[in-house]
């Protein structure tokens, strides 16, 4: 199991060292020479709506543009750590029992329109996020900030959460000292003079209206955009940092059926985050370069822990024992050319690159190795006995699993016959498969989960986990988050897990937090709350003209542009 190391920024001890290294006062920015910037890189993407407003965009592809155009106070480096000076903040300091974080910003920074970037722009960005009229999807970043509730409820027009102490010092105040507060300080900084010309409290309409022509302080700026065709970006010559030596980056729309042809014929130079073995083999055969790294995320089956037969732990364990996951992974993710399997399995709901996971912890978990006999025994113990027809029943009721599946889904098309074989014929469970469109499944399990709780027993989805911090699964397993619109989709409730999750989030020191989360990992594994199906590997496929291109699980292709070059 790979470990990306620990977050640097946590704890006062570490902080003192940092302040000593960087010095307390922010250094003036040295303009990096941009003379050697050259070349064009065409990146294939499958969607973008042209909404490049950092506070309102929703597609991951629009997010690429936002990440290239905007800059935040902090940025994760290749190792997944936050290092002062990598982004707008030169140093930071915790105070007020770790409830306050004060950032010293670089001086002399400008946005791509030449206007200076100051602490007031940071404050503006967060004011919009906290505004009662804000209708974007990033409001969770401010929910733990001091004064948010009053500001949101209209009791005051002063937001205490983010305050500018002077032009280059900005202070974040939180209601509670949480380790993950830090991650919420890195939001894309938006120029107030450009986005906020008409902004006042409870009036964010003007900000929302600026979707195209983004102005940020990041390494690139948008040059042209044709809807559903391409986004063309060019190097922002006012960007303060070094690196980013590729002059033009073009995001071109591709279709999933022909994307690999576009790569091999040279229409695009880079396809990021690919998973299909056949496509990877084709790219290799055409002499393309390949980067691979474990995906911070996985495909999983979640069972209904509140209603139906799966509410019983023994039933969940029985299903897990009779779900031949390695068989699936070894067939579905096998690269026929090399015989390699491009995915692994895992028996816990954390990211494979999360700092809580270690080899010894993984070894201590129950892998639920395929064992039909054990599964039968568990079902018997749970009271689900075989009837005369060979079907499981209890108190005269048949054991029925309602599976919410997506149609035309390659993975489910492989999984369902396996379930029919092992759960259906092997164990005598009656399977009832409903094919539902994506948003309809979400309606069952999230949007209207309270009304639909009896409608499903299990579903399959995939997830990506953007942070190595185990707190990212908090809302998925904490009982406060059961209910319509909330994240605890398996409706799992365990006071012990709640208590551990609440304890863990308050521990600032990663090393001290580990043992707490290790307990959570073990309980969730033991109670078979979730059956991760595969933890796959991501592949970035690219042309050899792109050099020094290094990507990792939490350092995607956009970040890797910092050091990459294009040699024509």
């Amino acid at each position: 199991m790979k470990k990306t190391g620990t977050l640097v920024a946590l704890g006062l001890m570490a902080l003192c060292a940092l302040v000593a290294v960087t010095g307390c006062a922010p250094k003036p920015v040295e303009k990096a020479p941009v003379a050697e910037v050259s070349g064009t890189l065409v990146v294939g993407i499958t969607e973008a709506s042209g909404n490049f407003n950092p506070l309102y965009y929703s597609s991951a592809y629009d997010g690429y543009v936002v990440d290239l155009v905007f800059d935040g106070l902090i940025l994760r480096n290749f190792e997944g750590e936050y290092v002062p000076g990598d982004a707008v903040a030169d140093s930071w300091e915790y105070s007020n029992e770790n409830k306050t974080i004060t950032f010293k910003m670089k001086k002399g920074l400008v946005f791509s329109d030449g206007q200076p970037l100051t602490a007031h722009d940071v404050v503006f960005t967060y004011q919009v996020l906290a505004d009662p009229s804000y209708t974007g999807r990033y409001g969770s970043a401010v929910k733990d900030m001091k004064g948010y509730q009053d500001y949101f409820d209209g009791k005051t027009d002063k937001f205490e959460g983010v305050v500018a102490l002077d032009d280059h010092t900005v202070q974040f105040n939180f209601t509670e000292a949480l380790r993950v507060n830090f991650e919420n300080c890195g939001y894309a900084i938006m120029p107030k003079h450009y986005y906020g010309a008409t902004f006042s409290y409870k009036n964010t309409a003007g900000i929302e209206a600026i979707t195209g022509e983004p102005v940020g302080s990041g390494p690139y700026k948008v040059e042209s955009f044709k809807e559903k065709e391409f986004v063309s970006l060019t190097r922002n010559d006012k960007f303060y940092g070094s690196g980013y030596q590729i002059k033009d980056i073009i995001l071109k729309f591709v279709d999933m059926t022909t994307d690999i042809v576009e790569l091999t014929t040279g229409n695009v130079d880079l396809l990021a985050g690919m998973i299909e073995p056949a496509k990877i083999a084709e790219a290799r055969a055409a002499g393309k370069m390949v980067n691979s790294y474990p995906r911070s995320g996985y495909g999983y089956v979640k069972t209904n822990c509140e209603a139906g037969p799966t509410a019983d732990v023994k039933v969940r364990q029985a299903l897990y024992y009779s779900f031949n996951i390695p068989e699936f992974v070894n067939s579905y993710f096998k690269d026929e050319a090399t015989g390699q399997v491009l995915a692994g399995t895992q028996a816990h709901p954390f990211s494979q690159v999360s700092w809580v996971m270690s080899d010894s912890l993984v070894k201590s978990l129950n892998n639920y190795d395929f064992n039909l006999e054990k599964a039968r025994q568990l079902l018997d113990e749970a009271g689900w006995k075989l009837n005369a027809a060979g079907k499981r029943e209890k108190d005269g009721k048949l054991m029925e699993l309602k599976i919410a599946a997506m149609p035309d889904h390659a993975i489910l098309a492989t999984l369902i016959p396996m379930w029919e074989r092992d759960w259906g014929q092997g164990l005598g469970i009656t399977l009832n498969i409903a094919y539902l469109e994506f948003n309809t499944i979400l309606d069952y399990i999230i949007y209207n989960s309270d009304e639909n709780v009896k409608e499903w027993s299990l579903f399959f989805l995939a997830t990506s986990i953007p942070s190595p911090d185990p707190h990212s699964v908090y809302s998925e397993f904490h009982s406060d988050y059961i209910g319509s619109g909330n994240d605890n989709t398996s409706r799992y409730s365990n006071p012990k897990v709640d208590q551990l999750l609440d304890e863990g989030k308050k521990i600032m020191d990663v090393e001290k937090a580990k043992p707490v989360y290790e307990q959570v990992v073990k309980i969730l594994n033991e109670e078979a709350v979730m059956m991760p199906v595969y933890a796959n590997t991501y592949f970035d496929l690219y042309d050899a003209k792109l050099t020094n291109f290094k990507t990792s699980s939490l350092y995607g292709w956009v970040r890797a542009m910092k050091d990459a070059k294009v040699t024509e």
């Binding site: 209708t135 949101f152 073009i250 059926t257 948003n439 309809t440 979400l442 989805l461 994240d487």
Partner: protein, 326 residues
């Protein structure tokens, strides 16, 4: 005539009204709502924030209230804003409509230019080799799903032949860095249009040639054609002067249907060929539950449809003096 058109236009208002109710109800019945689809999984937005967003967008009100509010706005030609694009719906769909239109126009011209002579010849030499070829051709064209045909063309034409683009509407690098001239851009778009136009033309040829053929055959069997022939007129004159003009009536009707359809997009084909058209946008908007977009595009389609009907009727009346309009 003008009175007739005016009357017909007035009749359209209740029809459109009913159509909007039906569309609104269907959109409303889709599971999920725009806010859910926009937030997606993993935004970690609190329930309170979700509720507030719904209030801001007026989605907290019941469907009846929302329908009439929507209707009120539409009466003022305001189709609302797209939640995903964060722009007025009209601004979003504007460019896409023209992209669809330009492709459809080429297809329509080609389809009529080919199917009229083919249809006539098939009718004249009924069950001949030519007719049989086109019968088989039409049958194949109608039966083959367009997306499948499109993929065949991509794999057997666009991939081996380098200068034929796989998909899209422009060569990305050229478009991003600027064309030399407008002519350059037109040529580039034209070449990108090639494959989708082939697919769309063939699929419309299939039905169109049959239509022309049948209407010509029907006319040929009329008594006045026998009269013309017995007068000793040349076969060419009989067919092109006497028969064709009468056979034109149903074809004109068809044209009436086609013209408004030019603004509609071919949903599947545009998706396969990544043509930035209106059909493509409708599809993604449905998946995104972008209510204002779905409503606006569907109402637009409905208007096209009823106008097409009207145009067909009017043109029919214009070319056929037997039809008296009152």
């Amino acid at each position: 005539m003008l009175r007739y058109i005016g009357k017909r236009l007035l009749h359209l208002i209740p029809v459109l009204f009913v159509i909007t109710i039906v569309i609104f109800a269907i959109v409303e019945l889709m599971p999920g709502d725009p806010v859910n689809a926009y937030l997606g999984v993993g935004s970690k937005t609190t329930i309170e924030q979700q509720t507030r967003i719904r209030e801001q967008l007026g989605l907290d009100q019941g469907p009846v209230v929302r329908y009439f509010k929507w209707l009120g706005r539409v009466a003022r030609l305001d189709f609302g804003r797209s939640l995903k694009y964060r722009k007025p719906v009209v601004d979003v769909i504007g460019t896409f409509i023209w992209n669809s239109f330009s492709m459809n126009l080429v297809v329509m011209i080609l389809a009529f230019a080919i199917s009229i002579p083919v249809g006539i010849r098939s009718a004249v030499k009924k069950y001949g080799r030519f007719d049989n070829f086109w019968t088989v051709f039409s049958l194949t064209g109608v039966s083959m799903p367009s997306f499948f045909f499109a993929l065949l063309l991509i794999f057997f034409i666009a991939i081996p032949i380098k200068w034929i683009p796989l998909n899209g509407m422009r060569t990305t690098l050229l478009a991003a860095k600027g064309y030399n001239s407008t002519m350059h851009e037109v040529l580039d778009v034209a070449i990108h249009m090639l494959l989708p136009v082939i697919v769309l033309t063939i699929s419309s040829l299939a039905s169109l040639t049959r239509y022309v053929r049948n209407s010509v055959i029907e006319v040929i069997n009329q008594d006045y054609i026998r009269t013309a022939r017995s007068k000793g007129l040349a076969e060419k004159v009989v067919i092109y002067k006497h028969a064709f003009r009468n056979a034109l009536l149903p074809i004109v009707t068809l044209l009436g249907f086609y013209i408004p359809g030019l603004f509609g997009g071919a949903l599947i084909l545009e998706t396969v060929f990544l043509w930035p058209g209106i059909g493509n946008i409708l599809y993604t908007s449905i998946l995104d539950r972008d209510y204002s977009m779905v409503m606006a595009i569907n109402v637009f389609y409905a208007i096209l449809m009823v106008l097409g009907n009207l145009m067909a009727d009017v043109s029919y009346a214009l070319v056929d003096p037997r039809i008296k309009v009152k």
